[in-house]
């Protein structure tokens, strides 16, 4: 015996999170999945970036800090700051 199922309606649900290994940005202390103070929208509009030292910040937060500094160092560990390239397909957002 078989059922003949006809789908009338479906409802897709998706969730996303930044895989930052921490909940909040160390600079603004706002959630990575939220916005930095100057950001309007979470997600793609408030990107999270990593340094080669593995520490993560909102892009806006770390940029503002690096721009104010002669030496480009990570605010956590003071190692030379270099942006880490995201692994392809690794740290996707949506």
């Amino acid at each position: 015996m078989t059922f003949d199922v006809k789908i009338k309606k479906w409802h897709a649900v998706a969730s996303w999170t930044w895989n930052a290994g921490d909940d909040v940005c160390g600079i603004c202390r706002m959630p990575f999945d939220g916005c930095p103070p100057d950001g309007k929208y979470p997600g793609d509009d408030s990107p999270v970036v990593w340094g080669v030292c593995t520490h993560a910040f909102h892009l806006q937060c770390i940029n503002r800090w690096l721009q104010s500094q002669a030496e480009q160092k990570c605010p956590f560990c003071r190692r030379q700051w270099e942006f880490k390239q995201a692994a392809v397909g690794g740290e996707d957002s949506d």
């Binding site: 600079i27 603004c28 103070p37 605010p75």
Partner: protein
């Protein structure tokens, strides 16, 4: 897919509405609010807002060292947090006149994390621990009060006596009078 996009649009609207409500709070204030709500102070430190609890960018901290040379004294500090916080460090002054190698007679404080070593992941709590440390371990290598630093290096015993005397009873040292340190503003 169409549903997904409409959900995202709604999220944008919600976020915009939330932003509108907080318009009066600047980024710096928001961060100070978080710092204050997560304060984790040692027992010998108290904090108050003399301008009212809604003026959180200016506050006073009283520190009573529980060990070391400065035990028995109480020291009042003013914190003025700039709007660029946490990218700019808070401005901290010692309002209680004190005989200390790293604090001058105007109350300026020589503490690395308040100047060259400031970084935006530091918090108000971290600064207060830094101040506490300054009273446990005065540092004669980086002086603001050169006479005190010299005394500390050349005659540690005499330095210790002068500190004890100045903070408990008050005394003159090298022509400057240091009133007893009772956590008040010396002017």
């Amino acid at each position: 897919m169409i549903k997904l996009f409409s959900v995202k649009e709604k999220a944008k609207k919600d976020a915009a509405a939330a932003n509108g409500k907080q318009q009066k709070t600047t980024a710096g204030e928001l961060r100070v609010q978080k710092d204050i709500s997560e304060l984790d102070l040692p027992k010998n430190v108290s904090l108050r807002f003399p301008d009212g609890n809604d003026k959180i960018m200016n506050f006073e901290v009283t520190l009573k060292p529980d060990e070391g040379l400065y035990k028995g004294g109480a020291f009042l500090f003013s914190f003025a947090v700039p709007s660029g916080y946490p990218h700019d460090p808070p401005k901290v002054k010692c309002l209680t006149k004190v005989y200390h190698p790293n604090i001058d007679l105007e109350g300026n404080i020589c503490l690395n994390i308040l100047r060259e070593d400031w970084k935006p992941v530091l918090t108000i709590t971290a600064v207060i621990y830094g101040l506490n440390f300054l009273f446990l371990a005065p540092n004669a290598d980086d002086p603001l009060n050169k006479e005190a630093a010299q005394m500390m290096q050349q005659s540690p015993a005499q330095f210790e006596r002068l500190v004890a005397q100045s903070i408990t009873r008050g005394c003159s040292i090298g022509g400057d009078y240091f009133p007893p340190c009772r956590g008040e503003r010396s002017s």
